[in-house]
């Protein structure tokens, strides 16, 4: 009995090493590129959502509704196979996943930005205005730095969700950690692979959580 438990545990480092070399890179690529593109596009969408120009605001609202109102897994399928079937465009699987994830997460990021921007008191805009700040200066120098502090907690949460959601990329054939583990599991008929994959996600999210903790601490010098 004891021997078999020990044997089971002895398998784990090998599996971890295997996942480290097969799958982790895809997971990390999707995660980091989605952050870069999603955070940028999200800010643009947030501004579009808040503008009083209906011709911009309404399409943005529609976009946010579609992206947040339909399953990400459908969007992945739709983006990858849809482009191929309808337009004959074939893109590399990982890049397709990055684009689909970015388009989807940008919608959530946009609403987080908006909540932060709307939390800034009007007096901040007025103070900047009477000092002669331009609209762009006001936004980037006065408003945005304060927004960042406000939105760190929900952004941290969203990033943890993103870490886990990267596993969905397997539906369009991206060989990320989850699918590599799942394939091996069906071959070996044991739970080890999935358990190790779970530990990988957990460790990644512990890092994400730690990073956001540090960022929040760095922003805590003012109230």
């Amino acid at each position: 009995m004891i021997d078999s438990i020990i044997q089971w545990f002895e398998k784990l480092p090998g599996i971890a090493d295997m996942l480290l070399h097969n799958g982790l890179d895809q997971t990390l690529i999707i995660f980091f590129l989605t952050l870069v593109f999603g955070l940028t596009l999200g800010l643009v969408l947030a501004l579009g959502r808040m503008t009083r120009f209906k011709i911009i605001q309404l399409p943005v609202r529609f976009y946010l509704l579609i992206m947040r109102g339909t399953p990400l897994i459908l969007q992945l399928y739709g983006f990858y196979f849809g482009l191929n079937l309808l337009l004959g465009i074939r893109i590399e699987r990982t890049m397709a996943a990055v684009v689909a994830f970015s388009l989807n997460y940008a919608a959530y990021f946009a609403e987080i930005y908006r909540s932060g921007i709307q939390a800034i008191p009007n007096g901040q805009y007025e103070a900047a205005k009477v000092l002669g700040f331009s609209k762009a200066q006001t936004f980037f120098k006065i408003i945005l730095p304060q927004v960042v502090k406000i939105i760190l907690p929900p952004m941290g949460s969203e990033c943890m969700t993103l870490v886990k959601d990267t596993s969905l990329a397997h539906v369009i054939g991206v060989m990320e950690i989850y699918v590599v583990a799942a394939n091996n599991m069906s071959r070996s008929r044991g739970m080890e692979y999935l358990i190790v994959a779970g530990i990988f996600y957990l460790i990644m999210n512990m890092i994400v959580s730690k990073v956001f903790g540090i960022l929040e601490k760095r922003m805590s010098y003012y109230r």
């Binding site: 901040q124 205005k129 009477v130 000092l131 700040f133 003012y222």
Partner: protein, 253 residues
């Protein structure tokens, strides 16, 4: 010499007529307080002159620039450049300070000179320090607004308004958000500016202060100027509305 002139100013919020045909002038170096009950339109008047509200009708001239003039029946604002120039030549002190919470006290004061006026950082820092010293805040230069008392916050916001070396300073109820015991330190600072011959327009509920500091007092009621005269004339006025308003204050000597 007139540095500020307002002619036939009207401001409506929807159907509500907040300012009805306001006209007055302020001369260089003059200190004018505007008094009146809440809702009389005094803050709105100040906000119109500082581009925080758009006028419905009327003409405003500040430091020789025309901010807004009438073109037939519609108000016509000056170009963006002139608007910015006017903002830089005037200072505005808010009731709620509106300091930038993410900047230190020093940076609050030097940010506009650096960003807006394009003054080199070192020079702006020197000047900001000088201002803070003058207002007794030099130990607070590295503090953040959340670490300041209300009185200190308002003094910082006065320093911030002074940093662009404005020709006219506007105060919108500068002591209304302060505890009574903190009011004194802010009023003292404003008085010290009076000695520098700064032109000031002050909306206030501090009647004793208004009486003491003003060259002229404007009393507003329901969107019109009821009186515009020397303080002793306003405070001893025979006008019924003025008397009724002043009667609510017991602190007038």
């Amino acid at each position: 010499m007139s540095v500020l002139s307002v002619t036939n100013l009207q401001k409506n919020f929807g159907k509500l007529k907040v300012l009805k045909d306001i006209s007055f002038q302020i001369n260089d170096g003059e200190i004018v307080t505007i008094i009146g009950s809440s809702g009389s339109g005094k803050s709105t008047l100040l906000r119109c002159m500082n581009q925080l509200e758009k006028v419905t009708k009327g003409t405003i001239e500040i430091n020789g620039h025309t901010l807004v003039s009438m073109n037939g029946d519609t108000p016509e604002y000056a170009s963006k450049e002139v608007q910015k120039k006017i903002l830089m030549e005037t200072g505005f002190v808010f009731q709620n300070f509106n300091l930038f919470p993410h900047y230190s006290v020093l940076r609050n004061v030097m940010e506009a000179p650096v960003q807006v006026a394009g003054i080199p950082k070192e020079e702006a820092r020197e000047k900001a320090f000088g201002l803070l010293r003058k207002l007794g805040l030099e130990e607070k230069a590295d503090a953040y607004p959340c670490e300041l008392s209300g009185g200190q916050s308002q003094r910082v916001s006065i320093a911030r308004a002074l940093a662009l070396e404005p020709k006219i300073l506007f105060f919108d109820e500068p002591t209304s958000a302060l505890d009574p015991e903190l009011t004194g330190e802010v009023l003292k600072v404003i008085k010290s500016l009076a000695d520098l011959n700064m032109t000031m327009v002050i909306v206030t509920h501090e009647m004793a202060f208004a009486k003491e500091i003003s060259d002229r007092v404007i009393f507003m009621d329901q969107g019109v100027i009821v009186e515009d005269a020397a303080p002793e004339d306003v405070f001893n006025s025979a006008n019924e509305r003025t008397r009724e308003f002043l009667g609510k204050y017991h602190d007038i000597a």
